[in-house]
């Protein structure tokens, strides 16, 4: 019986760097030339089987990159086990944005979070603005995983997710939500208490006069 592990993964990065395309390639092995911009966030799952037979299931939150949705991000990286911060190798400004996300994750997210920096659109190397050396050097300084990918050709996509899966703890209970054994029970119990308290509050402190 092989081990089943479940982890929460969040994608962050500037708008139009290819976060949704990266996930689509990873999850469905597809690529759309035209994709609607993500609103809020999209949720997907995918499993990776490691060499030792361990099955790692990713619960992926693909967040919207547009600046206006920034305030939603903490909801998605909170409790995340791993984050993929994506930039576009043809846009140097997107690496700057990626640095901001990484700083924010290092400050606010779970300290044990595994962060991968991902330079997408490697098929457009002719228009490259971010050199591999620059990105790699930054990733090493910050202790991040790093890779270049192309959601369009599929190059490097499954590799980076597999690399993350290998780096995730294989023993610790993942901090995922529903479906993760003991946590579900605890969460259920806690919400039950909350609900009771709410009901009590309503009966003793009824806000209306009827």
């Amino acid at each position: 019986m092989s081990k089943q592990l479940q982890f929460k993964l969040v994608l962050l990065g500037e708008s139009a760097v290819g976060k949704s395309s990266l996930v689509l390639r990873f999850v469905k092995d597809q690529f759309d030339d035209y994709r609607e911009s993500t609103i809020g966030a999209a949720f997907l799952t995918q499993t990776v089987t490691l060499d030792d037979g361990t099955v790692v299931k990713f619960e992926i939150w693909d967040t919207a990159g547009q600046e206006r949705y920034k305030s939603l991000a903490p909801m998605y990286y909170r409790n995340a086990n791993c984050a993929v911060v994506v930039y576009d190798i043809t846009q140097s400004a997107s690496l700057e944005k990626a640095r901001n996300w990484i700083r924010e994750l290092q400050r606010q997210a779970d300290p044990s979070i595994i962060i991968a920096l991902c330079g997408n659109k490697s098929d457009l190397a002719a228009r490259r603005q971010v050199s591999q050396e620059e990105a790699q050097k930054y990733a090493e300084e910050e202790g991040l995983m790093w890779a270049e990918t192309s959601a369009k050709t599929g190059e490097g996509v499954s590799e980076i997710f597999t690399a993350i899966a290998k780096k995730l703890p294989t023993t610790a209970a993942p901090s995922s939500r529903a479906g993760a054994g003991g946590r579900t029970g605890a969460a259920g119990g806690r919400s039950g208490v909350d609900l009771n308290r709410q009901q009590n509050a309503v009966s003793t402190n009824e806000p209306c006069n009827c």
Partner: protein
């Protein structure tokens, strides 16, 4: 619920009493499609709770030709409207197909057009009969600049409504319109006077749309945050088992309802359905896009309650981000709006029952 005043710019011609009633082809049949009031869909003598405004007959004196006029026939519509070709006409297919031989079949839902003998439809001999369109166009432009364009728009419509038989361009355009989905329709195929009328309507609709939801789209989107929170409070009252199940599965309303608020359900339902739904919003008043929409979203969620309560976190989120609404027609939208109206009636003036918990 008290009767609401008609829309501030009544020329949009949405009858607040009609939105939850079935369309009877007899009504449509008699419609003069260039009168916005023609979207009075209420069956005659219907006395349903939806009829919020009492039937009124317009008995206006025949006034100067430039005055906006009510529909010639006795109308139950309390709003006076002149601008035609509003969304209601352009889209508004009904899930209740025309029966019998209504003189104006709404082919593929396109109910504009018709009137092969427009003169018969205007006992007052008004507006369009025999008007020359180029003259009228100039007047429209002047009216738009001056800001008081309602009377002039009436004339624009007059200009835009020469009889189909005498206007091959329009006949062609209508043929095109009839066979085209709103999502793919190319407006450049329409004659200019029609486009002008649509432009004016569009401007009004967009103003109305944005007036109520500006704080949805400012920094940190407080309007959406507030709406999602209120929606959760509402669902906690109208469907306790569902709310508890979502809480137990750690589903946060923000995770799915954010998009519902941000895009006003456009990503959840087709463009055609969206037009039908927003049509009601436009008629419901300036707050509908922020307030009534809450109740629509709540009804939309609760609609799937039975399914959702059997799903876990992943199932719920995946289901809610790709809902099976592809086959929805007007009927489903009207049921949704009806349910939302019920919730709105029950809860909107009972805020303390579901806030401050």
């Amino acid at each position: 619920m008290a009767a609401r005043p008609p829309p501030a710019r009544p020329h949009i011609g949405l009858n607040p009493s009609a939105h939850f009633s079935y369309t009877t082809p007899e009504q449509w049949g008699e419609d003069d499609v260039w009168d916005s009031a023609s979207d009075d869909e209420s069956p005659p003598n219907a006395s349903t709770p939806w009829n919020r405004s009492p039937p009124t007959s317009h008995t206006r004196p025949a006034a100067a030709i430039t005055q906006p006029k009510p529909v010639p026939r006795a109308s139950r519509n309390s709003s006076t409207s002149t601008l035609a070709f509003s969304y209601t006409h352009v889209s508004a297919p009904s899930s209740y197909p025309p029966k019998g031989d209504a003189p104006h079949p709404s082919k593929n839902g396109w109910t504009l057009v018709q009137t092969s003998k427009p003169a018969e439809k205007s006992p007052e001999g008004r507006l369009y009969a025999g008007e020359h369109s180029s003259v009228r166009d100039e007047e429209v432009d002047g009216g738009l600049v001056l800001g008081d364009f309602e009377p002039d728009l009436a004339e624009a419509l007059a200009a835009a409504r020469p009889s189909q038989a005498h206007n091959p361009v329009k006949a062609d355009a209508l043929e095109i319109v009839n066979d085209t989905d709103p999502e793919t329709f190319d407006p450049s195929l329409l004659p200019e006077p029609v486009l002008n009328a649509i432009e004016a309507d569009t401007f009004w609709c967009l103003s109305r749309l944005l007036d109520g939801i500006q704080d949805n789209y400012i920094t940190a989107q407080p309007g959406i945050q507030r709406s999602v929170k209120r929606m959760a409070e509402l669902v906690a009252r109208i469907d306790v088992p569902l709310f508890e199940h979502l809480a137990k599965q750690n589903v946060e309303f923000m995770q799915f309802a954010f998009r519902w608020m941000n895009c006003l359900l456009m990503r959840e339902i087709s463009v055609r359905n969206t037009i039908r739904m927003w049509d009601t919003y436009l008629a419901e008043g300036p707050e509908a896009f922020s307030q009534f929409h809450l109740y629509v979203c709540s009804a939309f969620l609760v609609r799937w309650s039975d399914k959702l309560r059997e799903m876990d976190f992943q199932g719920i989120i995946m289901f809610l981000q790709s809902l099976p609404t592809q086959d929805w027609g007007d009927h489903e939208i009207e049921m949704l709006l009806s349910q939302a109206f019920v919730y709105n009636s029950i809860w909107h003036n009972a805020q303390s029952h579901f806030t401050g918990k």
